[in-house]
């Protein structure tokens, strides 16, 4: 895990952090779109799997790039969604609402 101060002080780490932030925002936009579909239509398996991949990716790499909160939020989202991926069940409204909140918390962390 990398601490934020080191990432800001080292040029390579600073570049990595900046690049991760850019790609993470793209991910979050897609996650917002996927969550909109989940909350309005009957969810398809591919959307849920795609969402799980995003949670997994953010959980795995957030702290590496100096965003530990992104990792912990990603872990929470992944932990909620993996059982649905395995079972093929649809998420309930509460789960979708929490995932939307997680996405917004991640966006706020990356914007700070």
């Amino acid at each position: 895990m990398t601490d934020g101060a080191a990432m800001i002080n080292d040029p390579m780490l600073r570049d990595l952090r900046s690049r991760f932030r850019e790609t993470a925002f793209v991910r979050l936009s897609e996650m917002t779109s996927l969550l909109g579909q989940l909350s309005s239509d009957s969810p398809d398996v591919q959307s849920i799997e795609r969402l799980a991949r995003h949670f997994h990716g953010l959980a795995g790499m957030g702290a590496t790039y100096g965003f530990p909160l992104v990792s912990s939020l990603g872990d929470e989202g992944e932990g909620m969604i993996l059982p649905l991926v395995k079972s093929g069940q649809s998420p309930d409204a509460g789960a979708v609402k929490r995932w939307q909140a997680i996405v917004e918390e991640m966006r706020a962390e990356l914007s700070a």
Binding site: M1, L16, F20, T64
Partner: protein, 120 residues
């Protein structure tokens, strides 16, 4: 030292390239899937492989099993990179033939040194 990084996440491939290449002075090859990684490993014969556990299609354990089936890749050390071991515990991965398991998140400044240590 020549490394092959197999991971479907571009963020991981990129930071691993920078960590192993710029910090660790290694030559770094990358592959975005188990299938691509297997082909690259057979062609390039890297000194070690940093392999993601969870990937769509051919996942990490399946990729390792495939690597062990070819004479040109059967002895290449494989280090798993994973956020979670899920059904595969560390012991299970080592029983499959993995040299070590490194967990995400990792420190980009020490990844190369950590890998050199486990490969010794």
């Amino acid at each position: 030292m020549r490394a092959l990084v197999i991971d479907d996440e571009e963020d991981v491939r990129y930071v691993a390239q920078m960590s192993l290449g710029r910090v660790g002075g290694m030559t770094v090859l990358v592959a975005a899937s188990g299938e691509e990684g297997l082909a690259t490993a057979r062609r390039e014969r890297p000194d070690f492989i940093l392999l993601d556990l969870m990937m769509p299609g051919m996942d990490g354990p399946a990729t390792l099993r495939a690597l062990r089936q070819w004479p040109e890749t059967e002895r290449i050390p494989v280090v798993f990179l994973t956020a979670k071991t899920l059904a595969f515990g560390v012991d299970s991965l080592k029983e499959l033939g993995a040299k070590a398991v490194i967990f995400k998140p990792f420190d980009p400044m020490t990844l190369a040194a950590d890998i050199r240590t486990v490969l010794q």
